[in-house]
């Protein structure tokens, strides 16, 4: 599992739009929103393509955590 940590809370329409785009990528599971940040969860090791998309959307990636 890979968790992409975003330095902002993603919710509402933005969350829905991002979810729709990420569904095109293998292994996408969910976007979890917290108080000031969000995590995008993938059940997939190779995530460079969705990562590029996330960066193009001007979302700041703080870290990518691999959870075993």
């Amino acid at each position: 599992m890979k968790h992409i940590l975003i330095k902002e809370k993603i919710n509402g329409i933005k969350k829905k739009e991002l979810e729709d785009k990420l569904l095109e990528f293998k292994g996408f599971m969910e976007i979890k929103s917290s108080y000031k940040s969000s995590e995008i969860v993938f059940d997939e090791k190779e995530i460079s393509e969705p990562l590029n998309l996330i960066k193009k959307m001007n979302l700041i990636v703080e870290r990518i955590v691999e959870y075993r």
């Binding site: 190779e46 870290r63 691999e66």
Partner: protein, 415 residues
């Protein structure tokens, strides 16, 4: 100095605390005028070459070699679950490919010169051992924990890799005197071991950075409001002791019925902890946040709490404790066996900054958490002392300078 570091985790890719350590330490090395080249695991299709805050990073691409492993891997690895064997195979490849690139390409073809090779834990030990042999350079092995400590019985193969690295290294760096004692008890030569603590960024982890209304808003958001807040941050595993802390709650609630325990972390014990919360009837007083949050948000958890509790049963250093102390919070920490937190936290006298507890005993945890919660003056004094202690002893700059002093010992030929 020109430094080579083999380290399993490096930003932006993390798995545990080692990534934070590598990030902060190498950043300080650069600030202090040194060159740092890092070889780190490629976690999938990460960039194979990168520059991160002045650190040159190489991540060789690896492939799945699990099908060929049984032909040559040691006995106990063959009994691991397939996913773990795959991880072992990737670890082998990461080390072999990294060492090969360093030896044949960077120093052989590009004629680059380096002064010191350092490896961190067994996951990157082999790259360091191979590079030392081929380049005839000093090799430092950093022990952040041991297989024996992490998983008690543990894997004989992993223990062998650790032992090989310890023996082949010119010096061993470890993170606390408790770890030094553990290594000596395991037969590592005392004369080779140096202790350098981990650290914290005291500017990021600064209580003055948060306004009261900001902290209040966060406390309201997570359901604390004006109630006493006990905080645990860490993996939900037996060794970290979140379950024992939950078991302490009924006793804490006898004296502080409004107290709320917030657990921030994920791990294999999540279901057990959910079950415990229900069976102990503390649903209204334990808030479980099994998720990853940004560092800024994590710091807000520290800012919001009244006491931070880390009842670890094995903790070579314990960066979460240092972070809480840097945020001016009193800490209650596990102090049995290998505990670096025991060295961080002064439990008595004029510099008191927290309490030491038996991490196997919920009653002991309850007694000392209650003592902190019931005395506003003591809580404030502990928090103030904790912040001072961190600024004096555990800044990344000091840690980087102390580490460089150890490297200088081997570069100068003193060892």
């Amino acid at each position: 100095m020109k430094l080579i570091h083999f380290v399993d985790e490096f930003p932006p890719f993390f798995r545990g605390g080692l990534g934070t350590y590598a990030m902060e330490l190498t950043r300080k090395f650069i600030e202090l005028g040194h060159d740092v080249t890092v070889f780190s695991r490629n976690t999938g299709d990460d960039p194979t070459r990168d520059v991160w805050h002045g650190v040159e990073v190489h991540r060789p691409l690896v492939v799945d070699i699990v099908d060929i492993l049984p032909a040559f891997i040691p006995g106990d690895v063959k009994t691991w679950p397939v996913e773990s064997q795959r991880f072992f195979g990737e670890t082998l490849l990461f080390n072999l490919l990294s060492a090969s690139k360093l030896i044949k390409h960077m120093t052989g073809i590009d004629n680059r010169k380096f002064d010191v090779i350092a490896s961190h834990d067994w996951l990157s030990a082999l790259g360091g051992i191979i590079s030392k042999k081929n380049l005839n350079l000093p090799f430092i092995f950093h022990f952040h924990s041991t297989e024996q400590g992490r998983v008690r019985e543990g894997s004989p193969t992993v223990k062998d890799i650790e032992r090989l690295a310890g023996m082949k290294s010119d010096l061993i760096v470890t993170v606390s005197y408790a770890m030094r004692d553990e290594l000596i008890s395991l037969g590592y030569p005392e004369r080779k071991i140096r202790v350098v603590y981990n650290g914290v960024d005291t500017e990021k982890y600064d209580p003055e950075k948060f306004r009261n209304d900001e902290v209040e808003a966060f406390r309201n958001e997570i359901g604390i409001a004006d109630d006493p807040m006990i905080l645990f941050i860490g993996r939900l595993t037996w060794v970290k002791g979140a379950d024992t802390l939950v078991r302490a709650m009924p006793e804490i609630l006898k004296n502080h019925p409004d107290a709320k325990l917030v657990l921030l972390g994920m791990g294999e014990e999540e279901h057990l902890i959910r079950h415990l919360i229900k069976s102990l009837g503390v649903e209204k007083n334990v808030i479980l946040h099994p998720k990853y949050v940004s560092e800024e948000e994590r710091i807000l958890y520290y800012a919001a709490c009244d006491v931070a509790v880390f009842p670890s049963k094995y903790e070579p250093f314990g960066i979460v404790c240092t972070e809480a102390m840097s945020m001016g919070k009193p800490v209650v920490v596990g102090a049995r066996g290998t505990s670096g937190m025991r060295e961080q936290v002064i439990p008595a006298g004029s510099n008191i900054c927290g309490f030491h507890i038996n991490p196997y005993d919920p009653s002991d945890i309850a007694i000392y958490v209650s003592r902190v919660l019931e005395d506003d003056g003591l809580r404030k004094e502990m928090g103030k002392n904790a912040r001072i202690r961190v600024i004096e002893n555990f800044t990344w700059r000091k840690i980087a300078e102390d580490t460089l002093d150890v490297y200088a010992e081997v570069v100068d030929g003193g060892v």
